[in-house]
């Protein structure tokens, strides 16, 4: 099975996550917030897929839905060919040995009343590595791997800085040798000098342990540094997906163009900046046709009516835009 799938680790097929919106005394259903609205992509072993988008585009919901921290509304999530959406509780626990998550806010994701050693070791207990001595040894090993001192295992989270807390979060995710890590904005709460340390650490462990990442970020410079492939999300849909080189050299979707031109760079760019008008619309009531058309600088008449499909323009380069159909 594995060979047949060409080492596809994760395959997502038409995944949807809607949140119902209700009103009034009788909780009348008045609509859905379509946080994730029909998304498909694959992640191979050792692959790093960068997922970028503005706040509210659904990128975090997507990450959480893959782990079934949120129940998907419809669609398939295949991990090594097995459909995650149909797993029971026991199956899910097994799955989470293989897929782990690193959260954005290291402060909120650690229990303030547990020593960090216990926090890291907790995953080992749950996944039945119960021998105390062996566990402590593994915790010490993990802490050293992420650049902390093993002696700090008895400290509490508040004794660590933001960067160190994120290292603890990484150690926790690594504890049970996962194959895929979903990193949800792992560096956006950190200072630049610390951000570089954590990015380097994540690169190192990716190579050392042969991990695959779904790397969620809003910062395209970070994505460019980390990712092998890049996907852009806009209002619950993928606008463009391509290999890193292709993505940065030959962006096709007008939204990607605008995003790239908006990144402040140390070197002044030759190109004029594309200023997008307005804000991201509400996902409760997305615009008709192409969701991006009210802000698009290259809008066509058809964009108002028809929703563009994600099509492969060249090898591995997908774009959902009427300009290329």
């Amino acid at each position: 099975m594995k060979q047949m799938l060409n080492h596809e680790l994760l395959q997502i097929r038409n995944l949807k996550k809607y949140y119902p919106v209700t009103t009034g005394l009788l909780s009348q259903h008045i609509g859905d917030i379509k946080a994730v609205d029909g998304i498909s992509f694959n992640i191979k072993e050792r692959d790093i897929l960068g997922l970028v988008g503005e706040s509210g585009c659904g990128k975090s919901t997507l990450g959480r839905t893959i782990l079934r921290l949120e129940e998907p509304t419809s669609g398939e999530i295949l991990y090594k060919g097995m459909d995650i959406t149909k797993l029971d509780k026991k199956g899910l626990r097994e799955l989470r040995r293989e897929i782990q998550i690193i959260f954005q806010d290291p402060d909120a994701s650690l229990d303030p009343r547990m020593t960090v050693g216990d926090s890291i070791g907790e995953a080992l207990i749950i996944h039945s590595i119960t021998d105390e001595k062996e566990r402590m040894k593994r915790v010490a090993e993990l802490m050293e791997q992420v650049g902390l001192e093993a002696g700090q295992a008895s400290h509490y989270p508040h004794e660590f800085s933001g960067g160190q807390k994120q290292r603890i979060g990484i150690a926790r995710a690594l504890a049970i040798n996962p194959k895929l890590i979903i990193a949800d904005e792992p560096v956006s709460a950190l200072d630049v000098s610390i951000q570089a340390q954590i990015l380097n650490l994540m690169m190192d462990i990716q190579q050392e342990f042969g991990l695959a990442y779904l790397f969620i970020a809003h910062d395209l410079s970070v994505i460019k540094h980390m990712a092998h492939r890049v996907a852009v999300m806009y209002l619950g849909k993928i606008a463009e997906l391509a290999d890193r080189r292709e993505f940065f050299q030959n962006p096709l979707h007008p939204y990607t163009e605008a995003l790239l031109s908006a990144v402040p760079s140390l070197k002044p760019k030759g190109k004029e900046r594309i200023l997008l008008l307005g804000d991201v619309p509400s996902p409760l009531n997305p615009p008709s046709g192409c969701r991006f058309h009210p802000r698009c600088h290259r809008v066509l008449p058809i964009c108002h009516q028809e929703e563009p499909q994600l099509v492969e323009i060249s090898q591995g380069h997908f774009v959902a835009c009427h300009l290329y159909n």
């Binding site: 630049v192 000098s193 570089a196 395209l220 460019k224 908006a262 760079s265 070197k267 804000d279």
Partner: protein, 337 residues
Amino acid sequence: MGLETPSIPRAIFKVMNNTILGVSHLKTYFFTRRGVVKAVDGIDFELKRGECLCLVGESGCGKTVTALSILGLIDSPPGRIIDGEVRYNNLDLVKCSPTQLRRIRGKEIAIIFQDAQSALNPVFTIGDQIVEQIRLHLGMKYTEARDKAMTLLKEMGIPSVERAMSYYPHQLSGGMKQRAMIAMSLSCDPQVLIADEPTTAVDVTIKAQILDIFHELKAKRQMSLIFITHDLGVVAEIGDRAVVIYGGKVVEMAPVSKIIGNPKHPYTAGLIDCLPDISKTTDRLASIPGTTPNPIELPQGCPFHPRCHKAMEICSQQQPPEVRISEGHEVSCHLYQ
């Protein structure tokens, strides 16, 4: 410092009449149970008329406390400005009475906070909040003030201004709130505008829109700006000069082109190297080891020496002096003595 008569700042002001705001030897400490937090520990800089001066540094370096000290907004206790002066129009703002400061704040020197959500009052409409400020400082009639507020909001690119005036802050998106904040801060035509990380909490496309507004403020109004940020990309974009702050002290000050192109202080150089840049591809990012120092126990000597790869013996013993590298480029580092 405390013994100087008011005539001395005035003399300084005459010599450098291009300077609109001068901060010298500013020290703001917070006296807490756990010890004295030296948030700002001797900061000097001058803001020239019509320039955009960027204060750059990581969290906890003292850049926001510097801004709050200028406006006399330090909570006391636990905080106190223990030394230094802030010269503005023949006045030392540190010594001004609360009443005097109230007249200057918002009218002469305005501030935009990072988090527009918590800076706006949730129970008043945007219109009311701007109108209140205009009536208070400029003594205008309600209708006049309302017209002025609407013109400003329009200038900030807020669509359907009439309606926006009657919105409460929660009805606006993050970018719109930030625009309303900027409109409010400009409502009394201030001489100096302090912007404290105005682009940090917003998305990249909104960031570009906000930076565009600041470009216009510079071009159209010749606004004197103090722009606080941790993002060197933003500095490169908007700044004329930059002051790099570390551990409550200025480590380097220079025109932006020199800070980015020819940084002298190992901290500045490190900050630039560790930034993933969209215009180049690197395998591995340079990084600065360690973490920012605890402001209660700042290291002896140069505050950066424990993380500095060029540290010498003297760095842990003596505070580095300010060295002039070239015209307008100053660095506090023992390497250049």
